[in-house]
């Protein structure tokens, strides 16, 4: 039974990842061929919906309490979930504000950036999200060894993403933050996002350390769930930032 549940969960994760990959590819092709921004808004919305439902388990927020004792672990777990999600909601407003500012300032033009690199970092983050999901499932099934391996991969990919954006992209970009409005928008958006990725990586690293010291069990692993959900959230934000920075509109002069 336990095996059954685990394998089906892993399979589902894989399927969702496949769907996300296809969507991203289609998005990229559309951006090159049909320059309609509506598609580039719709597709990220679908991707976000998938991640919210399958990877972040938004439905868990609405579970009814089995244990009404306010001091019990089960009750506290749901409380913590609500707290985390409210924090994410609040955080989403920063990124929403950044997106609106970008729309207001750049309209249907986009900065001149390296398309290949953009697609690369996006895929890296997407794959890391996939491994994060695996890690959580494996923890739920109490398989510590594999859990640790997957978390490690996630962290590695996260660091790779940071290097790709901050280390490479910021150097390759044809403008500095002070040169043009494109520069300003690009650096502030990627900067804010990179900061969140960094915190996510640190969070995951702490979880990895404590996990390897056997602090989490199949029953009690709130920290794991929290870090993974946060990681998925950072990924969802990038779903919207990627088209906003790389794909939508025509190149700004």
């Amino acid at each position: 039974m336990e095996q059954q549940h685990k394998s089906s969960a892993l399979l589902l994760g894989l399927l969702v990842f496949g769907a996300l990959a296809i969507l991203t590819a289609v998005e990229f092709v559309f951006a090159l061929t049909i320059k309609l921004w509506q598609f580039l808004v719709l597709i990220p919305l679908i991707k976000a919906g998938l991640v919210l439902y399958y990877y972040m388990h938004i439905s868990r927020l609405f579970e009814t309490d089995l244990d009404s004792d306010h001091e019990s672990y089960a009750y506290k777990l749901l409380t913590n979930r609500i707290g985390l999600w409210l924090f994410l909601l609040s955080d989403a407003f920063i990124f929403g504000g950044l997106l609106l500012s970008r729309i207001n300032l750049l309209g249907l033009t986009r900065p001149d950036l390296n398309q290949v690199l953009g697609l690369a970092v996006t895929s890296i983050l997407l794959i890391s999200s996939f491994f994060a999901n695996r890690a959580e499932i494996l923890m739920e099934c109490g398989e510590r060894k594999q859990f640790i391996m997957n978390i490690a991969v996630t962290i590695g990919l996260g660091i790779l993403f940071l290097v790709g954006v901050v280390g490479v992209e910021w150097r390759l970009a044809p403008f500095g933050p002070a040169d043009s409005i494109q520069g300003a928008v690009f650096y502030v958006m990627t900067g804010f996002h990179a900061f969140h990725v960094l915190t996510g990586v640190i969070f995951l690293a702490i979880v990895l350390r404590n996990g390897s010291r056997g602090l989490y069990s199949a029953e009690k692993h709130w920290a794991v769930e929290a870090s993974v959900v946060y990681w998925h959230f950072v990924d969802v934000v990038w779903f919207f930032f990627y088209p906003a920075l790389y794909l939508i509109g025509t190149l700004a002069k």
Binding site: I82, I94, G97, N104, G183, V185
Partner: protein, 611 residues
């Protein structure tokens, strides 16, 4: 002496100084390594201030538990700190009551400081020409008065939400006590940084900090932006905690429509400050970046757009006004039935009105920009939605009148402040529509009329209910009640003086007195009005002084009051004052309506029999 240094606050301050120094040194060193001009004050000071705030948090000790969790150690819930006695009020405590009182003290300190600023430049304005302030000093004081008061109010709101909400819903503590402590102690360095702008050249933008002016202002501007960003983050975490607590920690039987009105108001307030605050933080950080890295967000020369700032800014700062007043209105509805000995009229309508005000308030920010260039056609719907806010507010007024109607009213000090609050907020409310209506607003924008309207809403919606609440719950906090005579003196000094002040403000506004300016033309001949306002301001200050003396005196020597002083139905008054460390030894169940005063045989809470 060792006792003194063991206080969290002291350690925090020492660490903050240390952190600031390290930050400045570090950045200078980095610039040295990058081969830039080593000493550039602005980035160094900003970085220093930021690091200082972080060091403060470490020094005060709110991070210890989290660090230990991260290190994989076990930490215990609900620590009993009673052994610390009074000293726990000066350190990182996890008890929501302690934190609430800490918030309250900080709020009072900030508002006294802000009020002093007001007195200074009010005296300057008493006569035409510049007497003893330079223009820059005037602008700085005026701007700081605005923002310090706003932060003070935010913190005061947090104070009562922290202190009351868990009690009212019968919770043991907040859902996240450590987050709660963190949120409070973040506000302290934020306040310090904000005030430090005084010595760093000040800033002359008013509390709105519009670019491009705020891009050219002295370094004090950066302290303003940084301070508000931190304070904003603190309110975000605080409100998150409140929402979760209200959703999760309610006593059995407390269905939403049996929650006290103040709890409803807290939820509404928290929804706003949880979400919208991020945008003012963002807009301020964008200006900081524009100053530090030359990013041209609001610089048309680089393709930026100054109006964007105003949109981001007001998207928070308009709902923020409701953050200030909603809890105050909640407090009025909370206490009014107690003194009228009658059920609250139209409970459900009042409860829902808080939510309505909060949600509608999100979408009306445009009315601050009627005069600053938005699509003409869009001004009308913004006007409409703004006027829409009057509906739920009217509902609340109607409920208060209905509650007072034929009530057996007794006039203790809290009640006096409540009535003053209602009257003053009515003034503020009635002067709102003229500012919401485009045609009149274009004439009134940036005049003292706005200032008068705004102060009316703040005093009616926050200050008076706030004082009422202090007089009302002081026994719950200390076990002693405030002196009635001094309280009445405080009231009779403050309320009439304020009403005069605000009405005169509106008059000079309509006569053409512009807000935020250091001087005015004697030919406009309202010098005498300005003299009246200055005198009124000092009388208000005197009233507050009386209150402070009263408070300090009564904490130690006040008349002991441990019972249900006001004969209230609310659960916290059913247990002896001051409140036990973990609130209710015996949990209670909600079995009736909260405000059925004077109805024979009606019960609100029933305590479980403790075996």
């Amino acid at each position: 002496m060792r006792k003194f240094f063991s206080l969290g606050l002291v350690r925090g301050l020492i660490w903050q100084i240390l952190g600031t120094a390290i930050g400045i040194g570090l950045l200078t060193a980095i610039r040295q390594l990058l081969g830039l001009a080593a000493w550039k004050p602005e980035p160094a000071i900003v970085f220093g201030a930021l690091l200082g705030a972080l060091f403060f948090l470490y020094g005060v000790g709110v991070l210890n538990n989290w660090i230990r969790v991260a290190a994989g150690e076990e930490i215990q819930e609900h620590i009993d700190e009673s052994r610390l006695g009074w000293r726990r009020y000066f350190g990182a405590s996890l008890d929501h009551k302690v934190i609430g009182i800490q918030y309250l003290t900080l709020s009072l300190i900030l508002m006294v400081v802000g009020g002093t600023f007001a007195l200074i430049f009010r005296t300057e304005l008493a006569n035409t020409g510049m007497q003893f302030l330079t223009l820059m000093e005037y602008n700085t004081l005026m701007s700081l008065h605005g923002i310090v008061m706003i932060v003070g109010i935010l913190i005061g709101v947090a104070a009562f939400m922290n202190y009351l909400v868990p009690m009212l819903i019968g919770a043991r503590d907040m859902s996240f006590p450590r987050l709660n402590a963190f949120a409070f102690w973040l506000a302290v360095p934020a306040g310090i940084i904000l005030l430090s702008s005084l010595i760093l050249g000040g800033f002359d933008t008013g509390w709105t900090g519009y670019p491009p002016l705020s891009v050219r202002a002295p370094i004090g501007m950066q302290m303003f932006f940084l301070g508000i960003s931190l304070a904003g983050f603190s309110t975000i975490l605080g409100s998150l905690n409140i929402i979760v607590t209200i959703i999760r920690q309610r006593a059995p039987g407390m269905t939403p429509f049996r929650m006290p009105i103040f709890v409803w108001a807290s939820i509404a307030t928290s929804i706003i400050s949880l979400t919208a605050t991020q945008l003012i933080g963002l807009s301020f950080q964008m200006v900081m970046f524009q100053r530090l890295f030359g990013m041209g967000f609001f610089d048309p020369g680089k393709g930026g757009n100054p109006i964007l700032f105003q949109h981001l800014f007001w998207f928070y700062s308009h709902p923020a006004v409701y953050v200030f007043v909603l809890p105050g209105l909640g407090l009025i509805s909370e206490m009014l039935p107690v003194f009228a000995r009658k059920p609250l009229f139209g409970y459900k309508w009042v409860a829902i009105s808080s939510i309505a005000i909060a949600l509608i308030g999100f979408l009306v920010w445009g009315h601050h920009m009627f005069a600053s260039g938005m699509a003409e056609y869009l001004r009308v719907p913004f006007m409409y939605s703004t006027l829409l806010v009057a509906v739920p507010t009217g509902v609340k007024f109607f409920s208060w009148l209905g509650t007072l109607w034929r009530g057996k009213i007794t006039y203790e000090t809290p009640m006096l402040f409540l009535l003053a609050g209602i009257v003053v907020f009515l003034l503020g409310g009635l002067t709102g529509p003229p500012n919401a209506t485009i045609s009149t607003d274009l004439h009134l924008t940036d005049t003292y009329f706005i200032v008068g309207h705004f102060h009316d809403t703040m005093f009616g919606g926050y200050v008076f209910p706030f004082f009422a609440a202090i007089y009302y719950w002081f026994p719950k906090m200390t076990g002693r009640r405030l002196n009635e005579k001094l309280g009445k003196l405080h009231f009779w000094l403050m309320a009439p003086a304020f009403i005069v002040l605000s009405l005169v403000m509106m008059r000079v506004g309509m006569l053409g007195m512009r807000r935020r300016i250091a001087d005015y033309d004697p030919a406009l001949n309202f010098v005498i009005e300005h003299k009246i306002m200055t005198v009124a301001a000092f009388i208000i200050a005197l009233g507050v002084l009386v209150f402070l003396i009263n408070a300090f005196w009564c904490i130690r020597k006040g008349e002991v009051a441990t019972g249900n002083l006001w004969n209230s139905r609310s659960p916290e008054w059913q247990v002896p004052s001051p409140m036990p460390i973990h609130n209710y030894e015996t949990p209670f169940e909600v079995v009736g309506e909260p405000y059925d005063y004077g109805l024979p045989g009606s019960v609100y809470v029933k305590f479980k029999e403790s075996e």
